[in-house]
């Protein structure tokens, strides 16, 4: 809040910079108006960080919608969970009067992927590649879902509604206009307005934070967004996310099914459908911790009997297989898909492309490319959200990966110095000295500087955080100039001068 001192010192005032909102109308006499005015509603005082104010405003009819690639969540503001979560699977996209999904035989039939379709494509509402996306179809799907929300779950009728739409911050414009069109026509008669809020910001608000590094592991991609005071500072993305994970789970189950029948290579009939893979993933899938992953990898080379509590076997029924079968899979193997898809632990670092960085590395590079101050704030505030974040063990793993990377590399953006095998600190210092000698050659300083090179080389192990701050002659001079004839400065100005 901006606190503002007007010319007359007897009035203290806080300015409301938030959007004007409907609130209790008070007669102007109550506020002591000297002249007759139409009574203007005294705006409720809410912070500049507007969103929480909705909780104590009358938030009756605020519908909150979150639309992702595979699910639509809808609910009311001020409630702890959404009223409904609708998917965009093929069962929702049938003709009216097509009741085949209620046929008892339906669950026993395995539905094959259509030719030319990617894994799970018919379960998606949209994909970000708009080149061969039928926007009309997206509208149709959305329209049907919004109608269902309206009539089955929200059940607000005729009343004016405020709609809050949570969306990823980078949305293709055609898709966004598609969504807005549907909402404006779908929420009959008319919504009062649609407020767009970006999902990383909402995630931070929901965690009670103002700045955070939001790791959103979604369906098509993982995005890492750095927030600083509710503003998005930086975003990094990778395709290692839900779709890859689910496909990996499907591949593993297919291999296991083939193995059970006795075929060396998976056959067409063994191929596990999307629904089966999805069910197995959400039901029994999990994620190794870092040590477990290392143990598991070494155990593959030297199979050794461990007396672990996790060394049980999980039976996964496949009722749609022909004939219906039950897979017996060691519980530890169910963590393998996450290992391959999200952390790429068996892939060489050099084989990774820019778009498929493993999540740990992605988080680390995002942190690394942040400005120093923002990084300091975000480092301790890593939020992990998105559908895949429900996978047990994944949050722990990401944190472990990031801290391992930090321990290994520090905060040095240069991964490898190649042939420059000298201590990078020393090189930096030398460069620093060269620059200083260029700007102001002061002969008196040179002997001192030469001697200062030696202790730096002696103590390379001391992390920069614990070293005494370096003295900057220019800053000191400025400081002196500023404080000349003034009161001792506050802490804030000192900080400002340092940078």
């Amino acid at each position: 809040m901006a606190s503002h001192r007007p010319d007359r010192p007897e009035h203290k005032l806080t300015i409301n910079r938030a959007r004007p909102t409907a609130s209790v109308v008070q007669p102007s006499s109550a506020t002591g108006a000297p002249s007759p005015h139409t009574p203007v509603g005294q705006r409720s005082l809410s912070s500049i960080y507007g969103s929480p104010s909705s909780s104590y405003r009358s938030d009756d009819d605020t519908v909150v919608l979150e639309i992702g690639a595979r699910y639509l969540r809808a609910g009311f503001a001020g409630e702890s969970s959404p009223r409904c979560i609708l998917n965009f699977g093929p069962d929702e996209q049938r003709r009216v009067g097509d009741y085949r999904q209620w046929d008892p035989e339906y669950s026993r039939k395995r539905r094959k992927r259509k030719k030319g379709q990617e894994w799970g494509q018919e379960h998606e509402l949209w994909r970000m590649d708009l080149r061969d996306l039928d926007l009309g179809l997206v509208t149709d799907k959305l329209e049907r879902a919004v109608r269902e929300v309206q009539h089955k779950h929200v059940m607000l009728d005729g009343r004016q509604k405020r709609v809050v739409l949570a969306m990823p911050p980078t949305m293709p414009k055609p898709l966004l206009s598609c969504v807005l069109n549907t909402l404006f026509t779908g929420f009959a008669p008319h919504p009062m307005g649609i407020t767009l809020v970006s999902t990383p910001v909402l995630a931070a608000v929901a965690a009670g934070l103002r700045s955070a590094l939001v790791v959103d592991i979604g369906w098509a991609e993982t995005t890492v967004t750095a927030l600083y005071e509710y503003r998005e500072v930086l975003q990094r993305r990778s395709v290692r996310a839900g779709r890859m994970l689910s496909e990996e789970m499907g591949k593993m189950l297919t291999r296991e099914a083939a193995k059970m029948v006795g075929r060396p290579e998976p056959h067409g009939a063994d191929e596990v459908s999307f629904d089966e893979a999805e069910e197995a993933l959400t039901r029994v899938g999990w994620c190794f911790s870092r040590e477990q992953a290392r143990q598991h990898q070494s155990a593959q080379d030297f199979p050794a009997g461990t007396n672990d509590a996790l060394d049980t076997s999980m039976s996964i029924p496949l009722p749609a297989a022909d004939p219906p079968s039950t897979l017996q899979i060691p519980f530890k193997r169910l963590a393998e898909p996450a290992e391959t898809a999200l952390f790429a632990s068996s892939t060489l670092r050099t084989d990774l492309d820019d778009h498929d960085q493993p999540i740990g590395l992605l988080t680390y590079t995002a942190l690394l490319s942040l400005p120093l101050d923002v990084r300091a704030v975000c480092m301790s505030r890593i939020l992990i959200t998105g559908g895949v974040s429900n996978l047990p063990g994944i949050k722990r793993r990401i944190i472990q990966e990031v801290s391992a990377l930090v321990a290994e590399r520090g905060w040095d953006p240069v991964k490898s110095y190649g042939s420059a095998l000298r201590n990078p600190q020393a090189i930096l210092r030398e460069r620093d000295r060269n620059r200083q000698s260029d700007t102001g050659p002061l002969p008196a300083q040179s002997p001192g500087e030469e001697s200062s090179g030696a202790p730096a080389a002696d103590t390379p192990s001391l992390p920069p955080a614990f070293r005494p701050p370096e003295r900057d002659p220019i800053a000191e001079k400025l400081h002196e100039l500023n404080t000349k004839g003034q009161k001792p400065p506050s802490l804030a100005s000192c900080v400002a001068l340092r940078h």
Binding site: M1, A2, S3, H4, P6, H11, L13, T14, P20, G32, A33, S35, V40, Q42, R43, L45, S47, P52, S53, S80, S81, Q93, R95, V96, G97, D98, R100, L130, R131, D132, D134, L135, L137, T139, D140, K141, E143, Q150, H151, H153, M155, G158, A207, G208, L209, R210, T282, R283, V284, W286, S289, A309, L310, T312, S315, P317, F331, P392, G393, K395
Partner: protein, 564 residues
């Protein structure tokens, strides 16, 4: 398809927006004339067709617009809320606060979603408590045998289950909270301790909410006596303008940095830090529980918190309320249906169905002519006895490349005779190019007059074609002639040659256009009103006979080509 062959779908709202992706739009310059034709054939196999095809029974009709109305072109208004399980009415004001759920004793099984029953607990077993003061009822599923005893829930009374459940839940939560507090106070903060249950989602949410409320009100103390005319006595837009044109010094003063709000620090403020031990415990519990101890996707969606992982944590689901809705035409706002608001009555006050306004198209194979049509299982026919002997026509295995004759019958629900024109593409769109020929595309269908007329008139006058007698020579359909005609129905022959490749459903789009002479039923009354009231009566519909015209696309599902 799930529907049994043969079937008919009616299309509505086809041309809302042209279906084109960006790629198509880019290439549209080349194919403009071809693709952007207004009268292009409706393609039943396109993915978008699923959203505009309906069985006739699902459609309404707007008398004023003279058009079919589907869920996309009518708006709905809720008339009444009720619980489908106990059929009790819920007043409008309560619906929202109660979360659209029944607040009585209606619960659904968290495992199989069937309604739960309140059963008395028998004390004869070892479960008998020492004193008989204990709980003596539980919720049980009659289908899958789940019972609330599985999650340790018993009730003292058989009524007010919701209140009792809520009390139980809050008691459990406060117990867990107390334990957490004790742990936090007694022991040092160490992660090596066995994990205590993390605070529930609801707890965290309420904590966070109160935290935000407190912080916001403390950082911005509301002072009702503070007064600044530039701010409070002018509309916000004026304030903004003043701000814009204020001298720079004043502006700078206003743009002073806002005092940052505090962040949440502890679970009591809704902030939950990650604890690796909790995740470890979850994984260990998963390994122990096995496939059957973990919840399925369908079960999770039912729960209030869709992150419920274990079957032991499932909570009975309150029955969701249903609504009765009136429907209005989105274009002219006329009411199409209006149900009675009383839950016990199934009557409609207003109901204009497409079924009563639009001719019903039904198709069946001519070879199966004598067997009753699936839609009309009971047909009074002289050849009914022979239907059992006639071989059943296999709609599921049509032979590609072989012509099959079908009989398309139109039933007229209107009280006026109609003139029908049928249009089909010669070759069906899509991969499977089947050739279609309607032998008689233009014909008339009689009015839906009194059923007795047919019986009283001589049968010879009605049927234009002599009925084939069993044992006759192969049926010969003539081009340009109606096959058979009745009181309010007419049949024509359609020849279809299914194309390659096989294993695909054959669907034929048919454009139906009908014309009829229409006279307002109350024309005489209006005439009288006009005579009496002169020019005052404004809303007098057009009188006299007028020609009305209705046109729509239909899709006939005629069968499936056998594997190829």
């Amino acid at each position: 398809m799930a529907q049994q062959f043969p079937y008919t779908y009616y299309a509505c709202c086809v041309n809302i927006s042209s279906s084109s992706s960006i790629a198509q739009k880019r290439s549209s310059r080349v194919a403009t004339a071809h693709e952007e034709d207004e009268d292009r054939t409706f393609d039943p196999r396109s993915p978008r067709a699923n959203y505009s095809l309906y069985p006739l029974e699902h459609l309404l009709y707007c008398d004023d617009c003279q058009q079919i109305r589907c869920p996309r072109c009518y708006t709905e208004e809720i008339v009444a809320w009720y619980c489908p399980s106990c059929l009790f009415d819920v007043p409008n004001t309560q619906v929202r606060t109660e979360g659209n759920r029944c607040q009585r004793n209606c619960y659904n099984c968290p495992i199989c979603t069937s309604p739960l029953q309140v059963n008395p607990l028998e004390h004869s077993s070892h479960l008998a408590p020492e004193g008989s003061s204990g709980a003596s009822y539980f919720l049980g599923c009659p289908y899958c045998n789940w019972s609330s005893l599985d999650i340790g829930v018993e009730f003292a009374k058989h009524t007010g289950i919701t209140a009792q459940l809520a009390k139980l839940k809050s008691a459990r939560q406060s117990q867990a909270k107390k334990e957490r507090h004790e742990r936090a106070e007694n022991k040092d903060i160490k992660d090596t301790d066995p994990p205590n249950a993390p605070p529930t989602h609801d707890d965290l949410f309420t904590n966070l909410r109160s935290f935000y409320k407190d912080t916001l009100s403390s950082t911005n103390p509301v002072n009702p006596l503070s007064f600044d005319p530039t701010l409070y006595n002018s509309p916000p837009s004026v304030t903004r303008l003043m701000n814009l044109y204020a001298p720079p010094s004043a502006k700078r003063a206003k743009a002073a940095k806002p005092t940052p709000m505090r962040e949440a620090h502890s679970p009591s403020e809704g902030f939950l830090p990650l604890s690796p031990t909790t995740e470890d415990a979850t994984i260990a519990r998963m390994a122990q529980a096995g496939w059957d101890g973990l919840t399925s996707t369908a079960q999770r969606v039912q729960q209030q918190h869709p992150t419920t992982k274990f079957v032991d944590d499932l909570w009975p689901v309150q029955t969701r309320l249903l609504t009765r809705r009136a429907k209005r035409c989105a274009t002219c706002r006329h009411i199409l249906t209006k149900p009675d608001s009383k839950i016990s009555s199934t009557r409609y006050r207003i109901r204009i169905l497409a079924l009563d306004k639009i001719p019903r198209l039904s198709i069946r194979a001519l070879a199966a002519h004598n067997t009753p049509h699936p839609s009309f299982p009971i047909t009074v026919s002289s050849t009914a006895s022979s239907s059992t002997t006639a071989s059943r026509f296999e709609y599921e295995s049509l032979r590609p490349g072989v012509m099959t004759q079908y009989l398309l019958t139109l039933h007229n629900p209107l009280f006026e005779p109609i003139r029908v024109t049928l249009g089909t593409p010669a070759v069906t769109p899509g991969n499977l190019a089947s050739r279609v020929t309607v032998l008689c595309p233009q014909f008339e269908v009689g009015a839906n007059t009194d059923v007795w007329d047919e019986a009283l008139n001589s049968s010879a006058a009605l049927s234009s074609k002599s009925k084939t007698q069993p044992g006759d020579a192969p049926i010969q359909a003539e081009a340009g002639k109606v096959w058979e005609r009745g009181r309010n129905w007419t049949s024509v022959v359609v020849e279809i040659v299914p194309g390659f490749p096989g294993d695909t459903v054959v669907e034929v789009p048919v454009f139906v256009r009908l014309e009829y002479e229409y006279e307002h039923p109350d024309a005489a009354v209006f005439e009288k009103m006009r005579e009496e009231g002169g020019a005052k009566v404004l809303e007098v519909p057009e009188l006299g006979k007028q020609t009305r015209e209705v046109a729509f696309w239909t899709v006939l599902g005629v069968g499936k080509v056998a594997g190829g």
